[in-house]
Amino acid sequence: MDFLNLLARLADLDSTTAAPQLAAPRRAALGRLGQAGTALLPGLLLSALSQPATAGTLDTRTRLDVLVLVRQLAALGNELHSRALGLVAGYPALPLTATEKAGIQVIQQQEAQRVTLFSQLITDGGATLPTTPRYDFTGSKNSAQTALYPDIQTNPATYLLVAQVVKDVAVRVYKSQVDFVRADAYLTETLLRSHSAEARHASHLRTLRRQRGVAVKSWVSPDDAPVPATSPAIAKVYEGESGFIQTYNASDASGQGGALVSVPFDSTLPINVATPPLSAEAILRKVAEAFDEPADAIVATNVAALFTY
């Protein structure tokens, strides 16, 4: 780290930023994420950087939990796409077009890059990487049960459907995880940048499916052909995505207390600008499209669990 950057970081130190008291041993271990490792000094500075600590959320998930989760999702994606591309021994490449392959290669490589990044953040913090899971993308748990997607290693349509679901759920879950790392500016930015990269991938996979004749937009839409609910975990992936209610809280600066304000999309906002105007129902479907909803970590880990054994 060069000296000027160090000074810039120091300038960002906020006098209120005494690191939150870390009570639980698990959280103490997580504190090392910022404090141990080769880049000791920047780590210390970053862990002290802060938005005001949000005690309510810090209590439930640690930065380590978050990093392990996003690494798990990136590793799963990397394996899924690597097998589709024929990069894994025993899994012949799917009959994708050359153009499709080129795009999926981009996704696979960026997944691998993020596995590397998240792994490094975990190990530099003094934590141990989880063991690599065994994957079975048919969902049969290595033939222990009926397969959910029996032709995923031979049928591009099945593979692209699963790929879309895995990406869309990752996009939703990243949103909820940002709450847990807000005290760490570096990690917040890293998650945000990873989150939008995931959304780009999801959009591309949806475009590929549309080009193959599936009724699906590049953004999540109530108009999309429904994804078959092959298991309860899959059914949860798009649950709650079709609503038009959006709320915020402006009663204090942190946005954490007081009454919620509901955005009046269904009444006073002049959002129906089409000629001729859309029906009231149709414009609210556009509102649903315009906001991707967050989902709890378990929604994604349950999907991941379908494909690991």
């Binding site: 590049s218 953004w219 967050p294």
Partner: protein, 242 residues
Amino acid sequence: MADLADTSFSGRALRRRTFLRVASATAASSALVLAGCGNDDDDPTPVPNGSTGTLVLAGNDTGILNLTYLLAQIQASLYQKVVTTPPADFTAADTAAFVDMRDHEVIYREFYKSVLGTSAYDNGLTTALEFNFTTYTLTTRKGAYEAARTLEDLAVGAYNGLGRRLANSSYLRLLLKITSVKARHAAFVRDQAEPNSFAGPDVISSTGNQAGLDTIKTPVEVAKLLAPLVPVVLVADNLMTL
């Protein structure tokens, strides 16, 4: 920990003022106090002044939301222009996509306006700002998608840079809900302008310790990129202290 040296929090440059804040503990704390005062959402937001034509964004959530409001206004206006006068080589699918994106941007615009209320930068203006799209070629399919690409990528970078600067976590949650839809727009229009460019190396770092991460822009970088489009001088310096 990954080497953070070149992360530099959104590429923030070390500015003279920053150095002064560091140089003296006293100076640093008072500068921070002032920055902290800016966190009052009730602060009146400076509006474009008729005589100087300058829009100074406040160093607080109101300033941030005014910037995202302006971005949504610009994008809604661009999409509306294309929808009103589609390029001759637009297909039905192109039009449908631009109508969707127009509707989304109008929804964002009205959403931000509603949240900002009287703090919206243009609350006192009798006529809305008119944006200048003459640098784009909106008469061809390729040109329309390239214009959309420029603005969607800019918006994704802007949102990624603004997220950590927000004090109000309920605003951040809403921003994140919008960010991914904008990233989906961006990937779509990029693919249309050039196949398989949805996550190209000009937006997703391909090397170094930020490999695999999407674009990020500081508010000042965003203001500079928007400058040719807006008829006022946009000053985002106050957001840099957040």
